[in-house]
């Protein structure tokens, strides 16, 4: 191996000098890299924001929560599991409530939901009605979703038993039906020709566990099933385990119980599936990660194009600086010195582009996060993708190396006299 006579420090100085004497061109050259890295930073940062948001939603329901969902578990993105949507019924609820079947269940609540029109005097409003609660425990809905009325109370186990016509309304529902002046407590609203008494009002909640409670009316599931939706099957049965280490066992207990009820012996023929919050979180994380990766790959194309641009400009630069190369060789530069000089130049260019892209991308996503948080989702938070930044810088350096190699080799192979003769 031949000795590199020039020290790294001086090569760096020389390369910097080369870039400095061509400032505006250098700036234009790195534009492709800047755009590519900016895009990747944006995607990663916003992707992380979305992921955090979704995870916080999932965790909002409590980590001990287990959900039984009717239908077959989707086996892939194209599998729309829309068969057996009516498989969870009152009988399943009773079985699950029995301590003999699921000994470690703390609270059990079925839910069912649908869209309904609400009337109060001349005001109408369309909202989602969510039926919940159970016949044994007061306030079980509040406990599971961690929501409590700001004024008034939740419905009780007795209300569920008697199919009482009582509702707890969300903040937006209150605003639309009652405005700022009327106290809704005790007032009667009409849903599907039936009068319901408002017994509680939720404060402003925003998004909790995929439900926007602001836009909801909560009622005993018995009432909702019989009078509002007219059906006897549930959309979910939510079970909370007594402790985190009982989750696995409880999931198994729930499966066994439901299979027994449905006479299922072949587990691949399940007409329901059971999901823990951890499962859900993991699945959502996979989805957002896949999405982030896909978008990053698209941004990667712009990086590739940027790299080709770098190569192009470096080739022009090598031709333009043929005399300089010849001179350096006449003065004693080896082929390797020249190769290093041009490689370093292109790597400096691209890493500069990378740094600008990282700064630009994270500032942009900070601004976007701020706007989202301010105007759309209050729980959205900005996160700086450290891994993405390190990756972006690494990728830019590698692009400089890969796309700079060919021009640099061309430069290093110029014969000194050819180079000096060049006008």
């Amino acid at each position: 191996m031949t000795k590199i006579t020039m020290t790294f420090k001086n090569s760096l100085k020389t390369a910097l000098g080369g870039l400095h004497s061509n400032k505006s061109r250098s700036a234009l050259t790195i534009l492709g890299i800047v755009i590519g890295i900016t895009a990747i930073m944006l995607v990663l940062s916003l992707g992380m924001g979305a992921q955090n948001l979704i995870l916080s939603q999932v965790q909002g329901m409590g980590s001990k929560t287990i959900v039984a969902v009717p239908g077959r578990q989707p086996s892939g993105p194209s599998d729309f599991a829309n068969v057996f949507l009516d498989s969870l019924k009152e009988r399943d609820l009773r079985s699950l409530q029995s301590k003999a079947n699921v000994p470690n269940a703390e609270d059990i609540m079925p839910i069912m939901f649908g869209t309904v029109k609400l009337y109060y005097q001349n005001e109408t409003y369309q909202a989602t009605v969510l039926g919940g609660g159970n016949e044994e425990t007061n306030n079980v809905m509040g406990k599971i979703f961690d929501i409590y009325p700001e004024v008034g109370t939740f419905f009780t186990a007795a209300d569920v038993q008697s199919k009482a016509s009582v509702v707890v309304i969300g903040d937006k529902v209150r605003e639309h039906l009652f405005g700022a002046t009327i106290d809704p407590l005790g007032k009667k609203i009409r849903i599907k020709d039936k009068a319901f008494q408002v017994i509680g009002v939720l404060g402003k909640k925003g998004q909790v566990s995929f439900f926007n409670f602001d836009d909801m009316v909560l009622a005993p599931y018995t009432t909702v099933g019989q009078y509002l939706l007219g059906r006897k099957y549930f959309d979910r049965i939510i079970v909370s385990a007594s402790s985190e280490d009982k989750i696995r066992q409880s999931v198994e207990d729930i499966r066994m119980t439901l299979r027994m009820n449905h006479n299922i012996t072949d587990t691949t023929k399940d007409d329901f599936f059971v999901e823990t919050q951890a499962d859900l979180a993991a699945r959502l994380k996979t989805i957002t990660t896949a999405l982030t990766l896909f978008l990053s790959a698209v941004a990667g194309i712009s990086l590739f194009v940027g790299g080709v641009g770098i190569m192009n400009i470096m080739l022009v630069s090598v031709t333009e600086r043929t005399r300089e190369i010849g001179l350096r060789k006449a003065l004693g530069a080896t082929n390797r010195d020249i190769l290093m000089q041009f490689l370093l130049e292109s790597m400096l260019l691209t890493s500069l582009g990378g740094l600008v892209g990282i700064t630009l991308g994270s500032s942009l996503s900070f601004v976007i996060s701020f706007i989202i948080a301010k105007f759309a989702l209050a729980t959205w938070s900005f996160s700086f993708p450290y891994l993405g930044a390190a990756l972006g810088l690494g990728v830019s350096v590698i692009i400089g190396l890969v796309f700079g190699l060919y021009p640099a080799r061309k430069a290093s192979q110029k014969a000194p006299i050819e180079a000096l003769r060049y006008e």
């Binding site: 350096r328 004693g332 080896t334």
Partner: protein
């Protein structure tokens, strides 16, 4: 003993499949401390000869001995090292790096040498002093006049303390006053013992040397001692 010696040196270029003889059977010997002018019209092969003598190119036939040794078969990087340590070049078009300072331009050969970095500045400043440009050492090369640029180029050639300085038409792009200053410096270096090989097509310039080798069509036409050497101090007319 001669410092540079060629025996039946020839150089053939292949240009689009057609062989052109740039040098044919050139035999000459130059001793250490000589000031030799190589003359000839364009196309006579003087630049080709300079390139081979300066290890910028290799001969096609014959041999070239530098200090009694044959180097031209060594790999490129070895030749680069010899150019760096033993030879200095001054070109017609100066070939400075325009955005670098005088000092940086003069230090350039040292960057490729084995001279420790701590000595670069001192050596470069000394070389700049020899061409009387100390007051300009921090100026970017682009701001200098033609004569000053060529003096920087000479300082750059001097900085590694080479055995031979090759000057290829060093006054070709200069007015007579600047040209005179350049010739004075070259004379002074030669008086101090440095071997100088000057390429020119002007008889007037060539007569500053102690010996003139004339080339024509790639061959040595004449090799004569200059009887009445011109002194740059007495005036330089183009």
């Amino acid at each position: 003993m001669s410092l540079l010696q060629t025996n039946h040196l020839s150089k053939t270029y292949l240009d689009n499949g057609v062989a052109t003889d740039a040098l044919k059977d050139v035999s000459l010997s130059i001793n250490a401390g000589e000031f030799v002018a190589i003359m000839g019209p364009s196309g006579s092969g003087k630049s080709t000869l300079l390139h081979i003598l300066g290890f910028l190119d290799r001969e096609s036939g014959g041999e070239y001995l530098f200090a009694g040794e044959k180097f031209s078969t060594l790999p490129d990087d070895e030749l680069a090292r010899i150019r760096n340590q033993k030879l200095g070049f001054v070109f017609q078009s100066f070939n400075l790096l325009p955005h670098f300072s005088v000092l940086e331009n003069v230090m350039l050969p040292l960057m490729y040498s084995e001279v420790p970095e701590s000595e670069w500045r001192k050596k470069a400043e000394k070389a700049i002093e020899q061409v009387l440009l100390t007051h300009r050492k921090d100026y970017p090369a682009i701001q200098l006049s033609g004569g000053e640029k060529q003096r920087v180029a000479i300082a750059r050639a001097l900085v590694t303390d080479p055995a031979v300085i090759f000057a290829d038409e060093p006054t070709g792009n200069l007015d007579s006053k600047s040209g005179q200053a350049i010739m004075e410096i070259l004379e002074k270096l030669n008086t101090a013992g440095r071997t100088i090989i000057l390429i020119t097509h002007e008889t007037y310039t060539a007569e500053h040397a102690g010996r003139i080798i004339r080339l024509l069509d790639g061959q040595v036409e004449s090799d004569t001692k200059v009887e009445n050497r011109r002194k740059a101090k007495e005036g330089f007319v183009k």
